[in-house]
Amino acid sequence: MIKIDYNLTSYEDFFRHIAKCLKLKISDNIISFTPDKGAGFIKFVNLPNGLQLIIYDYTTFEDILYHRKKSDKDYFTLRFDEFTGADGIAKSSVFFGDTSKEWIYMAAANTQLRQVNIIFSKKWMDDYFADETCAEMLGSYITLKSPLVMYELMDAEYKRLMYEIMNLQVDRSFEQMIVQNRIALILERFFSRIYKGIENENSTIKISSRELRSLKQVENELLKDFSQQPPAIAQLARVAAMSPSKLKILFKEVFGLPVNRYYQKHRMNKAKAMLLSKKHSVKEAANALGFSSVSSFNKAFFKAFEEFPADIAVSIK
């Protein structure tokens, strides 16, 4: 397995870092895979409007684990990822979040990866929203949902735009314009869909900005330490200064899951990340995450990912 650790918020630097880790050469902002390592390319694009992109279209012979460490800078990434396994089944997702938390993903061997990833600063996003009527609503929604603002399946229209960016068949002078215009359409579509989502949500429940801040605190408190029992609802309700029943309703509305399931989801994510990093044994992970026994850890892990902790430890060598 090749590990790529980074905490960069410049895709240009990250791109060079990838080339170094993979021991491949960069030519004209493109990393081409050599036949001993895989097939395809990774391409860096710097757009004049301040956006940086990395476009991936490759298959490797070895697993690659990307591990982003926490960054203290305010950056956001919007990713369109498609993985096609040897069985021909494609999984695809749209991911939007900030860089304040650790984040990992696995590019499994012999899987075709097609991705268009975009990075921009908080400031860039604020400028983008400036003068638009949706600015305030989108801004506060994104702050609230960060670090993971959106994670959903990619639909046909995103795929079309993504493929247009990946398969450019135009005069070279036009490449940048075509890419920039498609990226502009992607961003417009993405943010207006979020906006429509908020409008729908808000039609059922009204939440004040003070309540939103409280909920954010509750979330912090909840995910602070997985080795201990999660805080009781009553305790969280005190943090939020609202009644337990109101907290439960609002929490689910904002974070999409009930308190305990939300806690459990993040706890299992942490578990998977620990195992993927190969620095921890199954037993250590179970202990660190407060499981009383390896078998109850196994059970919970299987429930979350439909595979056992040992499978991950074995499948990644």
């Binding site: 004049p48 990822d81 993985f83 999984k91 997702s93 991911f95 979040g97 938390k101 650790e102 984040w103 990992i104 993903y105 696995m106 590019a107 499994a108 983008y128 929203f129 003068d131 638009e132 009527t133 949706c134 989108l138 670090p147 993971l148 994670y151 959903e152 399946l153 990619m154 639909d155 046909a156 229209e157 079309r160 135009v170 005069d171 002078s173 036009f174 940048q176 314009m177 075509i178 920039q180 215009n181 502009a184 359409l185 961003l187 417009e188 943010f191 207006s192 906006y195 429509k196 989502g197 989801k265 994510n269 942490k270 998977k272 990340a273 993927l276 979350a304 990912f305 439909e306």
Partner: protein
Amino acid sequence: MARFFHLQIDENSLHIPSSAGTGFVSAFNLPDGLSVMIADSNFKDGMLMHRHAVSNQQYFILQFNEPLTHAEEDHRTSAEQHVYDIQKNAILLTSSLMDTVFIIPAKVRIRSVKIIFGNDFLNSFIGNEMADKFLSNYFSMLLKNRNHEPIVTDYRIIMDELIKEKIEHPLKIKFVYNRALLLIEKFVTGFIGKLEKNHQLIKLKDDEISRLMKVESLLVKDYAGAPPTISALSKVATMSPTKLKKDFKAMYGLPVYEYYQKNRMMRAKALLMEGRYAVKEVGMMVGYTNLGHFAASFKKEFGVLPSEMVTDHRASFSERDTSIII
């Protein structure tokens, strides 16, 4: 224009008073020095709009005009230089350094989008070299009056999205800006593409072109019924069916019915993307009674089923995936 008609501007848009005609005009100032004027208008009197040359500052005006009805042609004026009948020059790029006159016919409903941009913008958009190549070739051909770029459905769909009295969009400025850029993109890449293929369009005569434009607008006007027959179209064009077929393909790049079908599917897609109609409704709106046929034709054109365009994926997503936030 508002001052000319003594009108109040409401936000970005003004309503044409009933004494002068019907419709609206709206304008947007956009980033990068772009501005856009959008209109759907029908004036009682014909108008000549005279733009005086300015020498201190060069900017370009790219305009898309689509008349929905055709007025009687006026042959008197067309010989002069830099006088453009917007019925014939549906898509036209002019420069502020030229003294130009536009003829806007009376009692014709015209939908139009005009985009104003500077030289710097074009340079950063496509690079200095390409910008020079594009502009020098374009204007030399404009002098010879050989730039008849018809409005095809690609353009029409973008125009439809823009030509609304009130654009409802949470990112309204980006929405207008992105579409203006797409129009410029299509226009520039289309022109350069033709230039490089040494397009035979040039061989067509002026009035043949305007007759073919009439045929095209008739062909794509309505998808609910059966398309007009070739013989009906050849009557409109006053040419033989053989000549019509050949010239149509030369001008629009596809045989008549392939063009019809492609546009029909593009219309269907645009309707689906609006998100207001069910697949079945859209199928009927573009003239399919059999939903299976509609789905198959749609898939043939775009590689996905119409239902795949409208599914909301949010609900069905499970996070058992390859990436994890810790």
